[in-house]
Subunit: 374 residues, 2 copies
Amino acid sequence: MSDPRQYFTFADNGEPLELDCGRSFGPVTLAYETWGRLNKKKSNVILILHAFSGDSHVASHEDADLQANGPGWWEAMVGPGKGIDTDKYFVLCVNILGSCSGSTGPSSINPETGKPYGLDFPVVTIGDMVKAQKKLIDFLGISKLYAVVGGSVGGMQVLQWCIRYPEMVRAAIPLATTMRHSALCIAFNEVARQAIMTDPKWRQGKYPEDDPPELGLAVARMIGHITYLSDEAMHRKFGRRLQERDDLSFRFESDFQVESYLNYQGTKFVRRFDANSLLYITKASDYFDLNKEGDRAINLLAGTVTKFLVISFTSDWLYPTYQSRELVQALKRNGCDVSFCEIHADCGHDAFLLPDERLINLISGFLNGVENDE
Amino acid sequence: MSDPRQYFTFADNGEPLELDCGRSFGPVTLAYETWGRLNKKKSNVILILHAFSGDSHVASHEDADLQANGPGWWEAMVGPGKGIDTDKYFVLCVNILGSCSGSTGPSSINPETGKPYGLDFPVVTIGDMVKAQKKLIDFLGISKLYAVVGGSVGGMQVLQWCIRYPEMVRAAIPLATTMRHSALCIAFNEVARQAIMTDPKWRQGKYPEDDPPELGLAVARMIGHITYLSDEAMHRKFGRRLQERDDLSFRFESDFQVESYLNYQGTKFVRRFDANSLLYITKASDYFDLNKEGDRAINLLAGTVTKFLVISFTSDWLYPTYQSRELVQALKRNGCDVSFCEIHADCGHDAFLLPDERLINLISGFLNGVENDE
């Protein structure tokens, strides 16, 4: 199976990446994947920004060698003839800085020590992630993005792109996201971090690759999974159905399907994700607050030509609709061209990732509208 | 400081307690406290049933010796001249079976081994807790309860009292509770249990008293605390305010007040609560499902003379109002006398514990109405 990712390394000999924490950092490698063909004017680029535990593998590849990598995390949305049509657009997705799926993060080798960075990795922000992505876009000779699209932590990156490089973004689609991480979201993230950091195997972040804090990471993921669903979705998916048993166990085993599901999700996650990366990415999202940057970062968008489509979902209690409305109002106050849609969906925060004709039509229609303006 | 609790032990020589799991169990000690005076007819008893992490100390005592025990967990509601008026009623609260505040639970000494039960303690149900309370009520020579009152897991006990001993309950006030534990609630409980059971210090429940799984228990409590609050309450109480610092730390410390609050709550809980008790009581609430017992347990109430006051709170997302409405409908279908009130409160599930004039007036008014019927 061939690796579908390409790699771009910068700040190795040249300028380091200046981070929001004040540190100069490098080298940085970014792993990314592409779909479709870049047109001659390089004007058909859609940058997709992934959520907290995502990676660059948004969709399957047509190339025979790469097909074996299987479907991606937004397979229903991205592909030939789909909502984000790879017959028309050149789609790009970059694994975020601080993650663990090809891009530099705390599990990467620190060239100064020959060992993984662990907690020597700098605490990066959503802005830092976007700054790194900008280096790649520059390297590819792309001066303007047709659209930036992302949900959740990906949506925070969308907003950060618009604020830091407004002249480069023609259209922006932040989904199921917020202008600032709420106390509730910080609370869940902090408990997830504590679950990892109290696991003795975490060892202050200096765990060996083959003996990570698996149990703590699994608990952290279970917490996450609850917040991605909704009361309704859990009732529909699991209710009080028992897991492979006819009656209650009267023991501390998984009696209910929902317990079994969470334990499975926790265990599965451990195989693909780095515990320290969870710490770093949750911290980056906790730090995200557009009212904090400058005076009010969103004011920087006054006069921008970027067109916005803001989307929220009725049962998303992590980033509820009122937070998207606040964003829409802030954008409107600054004279931005903004459309807003709240989609009725009972599946919670996860709704933005699930196949949904309405969402697909909404996004493809909006993208077509951007084109017609030119 | 004198102990305000009294102790009642049964099933030591006599009949053991027959549990829902099929085991016969004993001896059982129940710790309880009382306020006010039992009238001659023994007709003024209000039994208060505590929630998951509660104890028998509902309110402060007037007796000079006992005052030092300080205020109780429902101080605003219970006392002379208050909503549940101890000048009129003889108030009784029993620490639940399986808990760790005086009643028999997994941290009690197993007389057969001379060591704490740990996981040899039977998995008890809400029904078992109520069955044990009934033994105490019988022992006290009380044949009828003026009212049973409780929120959350206490509300489940209220319902179980009405179903098992309907002829003994004149009035019932289940607050912020449900007829059956939802998948969402089971999910949160399972993550809390996993946080404890994955702590190496848990040792399959056989930890020494002076070296319990503190870190896992603290994480479990943090999860609980998030679910007791609401998005609005967290925003109001904490927002994104920093904790004793002027700027972000760019380290894995508590930056925000909400993180600091949760960590404090977790650490504080460890000093007063037993990790195994958390496992047992969460399991009991997960098992709670009135549709499961018999065919539909609530049907057993057809023809009962118990008067019900069901109360829910708008921002309680653990036991949302729709679950109280389901209860009300089921009671009405069975011809029960039921009043229902949804109180507008932004403080989440915790609302039932917080001082609130509306709640106090509602409960005292309802209790007066019961009296006037006689």
